[in-house]
Each structure stands twice: as C-alpha cells, then as structure tokens.
Symmetry: C2
Subunit: 415 residues, 2 copies
C-alpha cells in the first residue's frame, strides 16, 4: 500500500538550500553562542529599526479602538482592501507622478513577499520567466516551488528559468534576454544591488515587453528611497506600461511595517494575457478572483495605520525616517569607500552592494566580517550566482550601530 | 505575435460563478437601493458583530505601543509565528484535550481561509481529493484554480473531485468514498450544516485514513462553539490522527478576529507523504519551507492580541462572547422550529441549517426572505449541489437583530 500515500509537491525538493536568511540566522546564533561578550551589529536581513511614527501610531490605536464597540466594530473587509487606503495611495503617491489609477486596479495585502509569490497563481505554468541574477530569492524559489523549473545546475541556475546577470560590467542593469520570455521580474531600486533605473532605461523595458508580448512584474518595494527627482518611482510613469506591467509596493521599508505587514499590487485593467484557446483575458479579473477566494484582506487596524502614512503630518514623519536611513546609507557608502572597498548602491536605494576584497567569496567575507568586526551582512551569492564576490549591507540600522560598524570595518580593512 | 502573449492560468475559467458571498452582496445592495426604508438584518455571511473583549484590546494596544520606541520595536518576526502565541495555544487549548504538540508543529497565519487555500501548494497535483457537499466553497474553488479538476457538470460538480453528499438522509455526515482518495477535507463543527462529529465518528475517519493512506485536512474553525463535553475539539484527540491529519483553526469566530486576521495550522512532525520516487517526506518540513518563502508572518500586534485570548481573564471574556452567539443560535433554532420550519445545527455550532419550505429552491428562499422579512441568509446551493433546498443562518448577529429577524420569519412563515 506504500505507493498510495498522498504525494508531496516534489518541486520543493529541487530547492538547493534553506532560504538565505535562516542560514544567516544560524551562523549568527552559533557565533553569538561562542562569543557571548561580542556586540554583534546586524546590517544583514534589511529589517527596519526605527519606531512607527506618532501619526501612524495614533491611527493604529484609533482603529483598535474602533473594534471596542459594537457600533464601530469592523469585521470582514473587502479582500482587495479598503477604499480609504487604496484611494489615499492613488491620490498621494501615484497622482503626483502623473499616474492615474482606478480604485479597482489596486489590491492591498499583508505584504509584498506574499504578493510577489502569489502572483504566479494566475499565470499558466508554461510561461517562460526571466529573473535578475543576483535577485530577491523569492522570485526564484517560488518559480521552482510551483513547478516551472527543472533541477539546479552546479552554479545554482535552475533549468527552465532565464537568468539576466547584473554585474559590475553592465552597471547592474540587465540586458534584454535573447530568448522569448513571457514574464520578466524587474526590481528598482534594486534589492540587492541598490541599482536604480532611469526613465529611459525603464522605457526600454516597457517597449521591449510591448514588442515581445511579455508581462513585467515590477517590484517597487524601495521606491520611497529615491531622492533624485529624475528617477521614476513607478513603472507606470512610462507610457504603455499599463498594458504590460504589474507593480508591487510595500509599507515594510517605507513606513517601518516589517512586523505590521502591509503591501499592495497594481494590476491595471488594460493588462491582458491569453487563454489556451488564444483569447484575451484580464489579469485584473483573475487577481480579484484569486484574492477573494484565497485571501481575506489585510488587518483593518493595519490598513488604517497604513493610510495615516499619506496624511500631511504622517508623510512628513515618514520622510524623516527615510532620510534617517538614507543618511545611514551615505555613512556606509563613504566609510567603506574610505576603507578602500569598492562600493555600489546606497544612493536612491537603502542597500549598499560592495565587492568583496582580495578575491574572498561572499560567504568567506560574511564569516570574516562576523568574526573580525562582529558585523552581519548578507552574502551576495545568496542572491544568485552573479552575486558571488559581492556583499550586501543594509542602511536600516540604528545610527550609532551603523557608525560603529563602519568604524570597525574601516579599522579592519584599511590598508 | 498575438499567440505569444503571456498565458493565463486557464483553470480559473472553469469556475462557474463568482464566489458566493459577493453575489449575495450584489443582491442585497440592489434590494437596499430599491427599498431604502427597509431595515435589512444580515444573518448571511457569518461575520461576527460583537466587539473585541477588553483584555484582547489592551494587549492589542500594548503591542502597538511596543512599536513606538526603538528598544521595544518589533520588525520581521518568525514566518511561522511567535512562540509566545504558539505556546499559549498549545498549553491552554490543546493540552486540556490531552493533545501534546511541539512548538514546531504549529504555524500562525493571517487567517484560516489563506491556510485552507495555501495548503494545496505542498501536495502533488495528481492526488485525488474528496470534499463534502455542501461545503465551504474555498475547498472546492482552490482545487479548481490549482488545476486539479476538469470542468463542472450541469449540477456544479467538477470532474476529478470526489464529492461526499451530506444530507438529511445521512444526518449530514459524509460516507467514506468508494474510490481511493489521497486527501479528504473534513469540517466539524460543520460550515454550513452545523453538524458535529462524535469522537467515534472522527475515529472512523482517522482509521479510514490510516488504512487507505489518505491525509485528512481537518477544519476546526468552529471548535470553540462546542458545548457538549463529549464532542472532540481537535482531530488529534483521536489516536493515530497525527499520522494522517492537518488541522486548521481560526481566531475569526472564536475571538471576533474577522477583521483582525489570525489563524493557525497544525502539521504534525509524524505526518508524511511520498515523493514521486516513493520515499517518505515530512509535510511539516514542506509547510515550513512554503511559509518561510511565501509568507512573512502575521502582524505582531495581532499575534499579541491573539495571545491575550488565552489569559485567564481573556478566555473568560471570550467565552462570554461565544455564549452570546450560542444563545442567538438557540433563539433562531427554537423560533424557526416554532414557525414550522425544519431546522438542523445550532447546537455545538454557530450555524443553523434549515430546510426551505414548500419546495422552494435555496435562491428562491433567499429572495423571499430578503423581500418579505428583510433578512439576509445564505442559500444552501451556494455551498454545493446537495445544499439545494437548504438555507444557512448564522448566529453571529446582534441579539436584538436576531430576535427581530426571528419574529419577522415567524410572522411570515407560521401557518
């Protein structure tokens, strides 16, 4: 009877190793156990450190209070999110970019990781997918888990996915794939490299997608960290993008919501795919059906807190936190440069992408940084084969810690 | 080039109609627009009405305050949930049943709908699935969406799924399928019929699953409404269930969290499936990988609020809300019986399942109840073909509304 036991989704077994961050966690715990006196500074996982702002906190508390009386109680909300939040985002965050969106084109969620992963549900499995290399591991791993790939080769490339190397040589900006691809993940400002895309560069991708009938999955989780007014915050700033792009945004880094959980997806009504019989069909309708059936909406008090980000005072406070992190980025970037390291990113983006010195592998550098400086970062190779020889530091730390980490690195690495 | 556009997941097109509750919403909105003076009482969707209890509110506020200072700030938490919540549930809600669970066997989520839907990710597509009829539509629809079925027939049965009719004739308790099935959804106390399973009945299913190498997906979302001490709250009260069952629970109805969002899944370490090469593999490991890659944990303040349910005072208050709803159930059940209607459920379960009178279809009865009594319920046929001729009323209303709804029904239906 053995052979009749319920079968597992075998695709999971193709995944090479544990998810990157748990592995980092294991190494840091082992180091801390062996060196209990060491003050470890974490600039690795990219978790925020600054508290929610007063205006956001007040809205959060007020919404919890709504749940205290029968008259103001809020039960099931719309699975796609409350209009009060959707309309605030459209009005305050998209309209100033010249981007008009309908309420029905935006979907609020409990976070961008879920959205980036779940979006695959509405696409046929036989679409060809292109991802960056290095890349946010969720894009890669969820495509493996859903069964779009074969096994990984020795380098870590999964058969069936198209990888677009982003290296020093191409300025960390991917070249158009040579083969026809149906879905393309783009992330700008980029995690992990900190690279940004100019409007011209984004236009190139939109034109490419329109010409090749591809859909762009555009991850804009870090758009709030753009300070240069010429850099686009949304792919929809490019004409034609509504016909070829889905956009993801997150409150995690923008407003310190990593533990609070809120994100959003834009699926324009103009965006169409084809059925197996060759008819056009709306991705917006598919995503609505997906979300209403498999999701029950983000937490009501969380959505109220998120909406407060877009009040005048809320935005002022949120911007101050963003400025704080971007000053951290400057300190890291300039400090590491002064230490003789080659450093990318950290401008218009909260990640610093450094070249490991002396030919060290990414994990060797991780261990060296942890052992010598008691600083935790993220090995570039964890983001893909082309990340080997690079290392990510996050600007989301506490200022004193950032300054101390940079001092320790300077002391250790300066020739 | 048309034929090269990214392809959609065609399986979505097999879905017969919109999800049940949006359709109810549309009809109610149309009625309200045409009859603006009518006081419509909603006993349909099964949303709770009573506020969060004081102890839960306090914990919720305290956790929001944790996010107000850098020292107490909580960012990314464990994707599988905080130990403070998992351990409280195990200690206060499972141990008293004689069920021992490890911390690593429980996974906290943003709601049971998501869990019931997402669990399919870790199973191979070629497993055969059995579901009740009538049934919580999510079990059916998510199996269609993931591609496990063919089209629906005229009755609404999807080819490839095994349906287990639950009717007056079998006491709303499913018979074992004649064909070999790999996965079986069971829900007790049942949504929508309000039927409960005795320990002997559950033991029958566990023994069946063990003998036939099936996995039971046990939905215990309504276990808190059981008042009869002989009725099991968890399938793990039956010996051997850890080898064959995954259990889902929710805070939605138990503690009024429909808008707050928190649920949980238990995936025992002993539970194994097989790989395509016939080796055993742990479902617990697969679910951990799924959650760490595709989910980022439930909101921290929400988990703190949920943990407060299990404090002594929190549980006393929560139990008072449950008693309130169960008194509603009694009023509906007895009132409808007095009106000459045939009524099931409403004991150990918050749903009343009534037989539509005079051979009315479920939707005819829906329209009649809405037009004549201004009361909204849920058509039984919306839960599956065997629900035709039945109708669901929920006990989650406000007491005055419940009393008034029952009076209106009595007046209209009493011979």
């Amino acid at each position: 009877m053995e052979e009749d036991v319920a079968k597992i989704n075998d695709n999971y077994l193709k995944l090479k190793a544990g998810y990157l961050f748990p592995e980092i966690g294991r190494r840091v715990r082992a180091f801390a156990a062996a060196n209990p006196e060491a003050k470890v500074i974490r600039l690795g996982i990219g978790d925020v450190t600054q508290p929610l702002t007063p205006t956001i906190l007040k809205a959060f508390h007020d919404a919890v209070d709504d749940l205290a009386t029968e008259n103001s109680f809020m039960g099931y909300g719309p699975e796609q999110g409350y209009d009060f939040l959707i309309d605030a985002i459209i009005e305050k965050s998209y309209k100033p970019l010249g981007v008009d969106l309908k309420t029905t084109e935006m979907f609020i969620s409990d976070g961008s990781k879920c959205d980036c992963a779940n979006i695959l549900d509405i696409f046929a499995l036989d679409n060809t997918v292109a991802i960056g290399d290095p890349v946010y591991p969720v894009y890669n791993d969820t495509n493996v888990m859903i069964g779009r790939t074969g096994d990984a080769d020795d380098k870590g490339y999964y058969k069936g996915l198209v990888y677009m190397p982003c290296t020093e040589e191409n300025g960390f900006f991917p070249a158009y794939p040579k083969e026809k691809v149906d879905m393309i993940y783009l992330c700008f400002p980029n995690n992990p490299t900190g690279a940004v895309a100019t409007k011209e560069q984004l236009k190139g991708w939109v034109d490419y997608a329109l010409a090749n009938d591809s859909i762009i999955l555009f991850d804009a989780a870090y758009e709030a960290f753009i300070t240069d007014p010429s850099i686009p915050h949304s792919i929809y700033e490019v004409e034609g993008a509504k016909k070829c792009a889905i956009e993801f945004r997150s409150f995690s880094k923008t407003a310190g919501f990593t533990g609070v959980r809120c994100g959003l997806v834009v699926v324009p009504e103009e965006l169409e795919g084809t059925t197996s019989t060759g008819e056009k069909y709306s991705f917006n309708k598919l995503w609505l059906r997906r979300q209403t059936t498999k999701f029950n909406g983000a937490s009501y008090p969380v959505q109220k807190a998120a909406a407060a980000v877009y009040t005048e005072q809320g935005w002022k406070e949120t911007q101050a936190n963003i400025d704080y992190y971007m000053e951290n980025a400057r300190i890291i970037r300039e400090g590491l440069t002064a230490a003789g390291l080659t450093v990318y990113g950290g401008v218009n983006a909260p990640y610093i992408w450094l070249k490991t010195p002396a030919g060290l592998t990414s994990w060797d550098f991780f261990d060296k940084l942890l052992n010598d400086c008691h600083v935790v970062g993220t090995p570039g190779s964890g983001f893909g084969p082309s990340g080997e020889g690079y290392f990510r530091l996050s600007a989301f730390g506490n200022r004193d810690n950032v300054v101390e980490a940079v001092e320790r690195i300077k002391k250790n690495f300066k020739k």
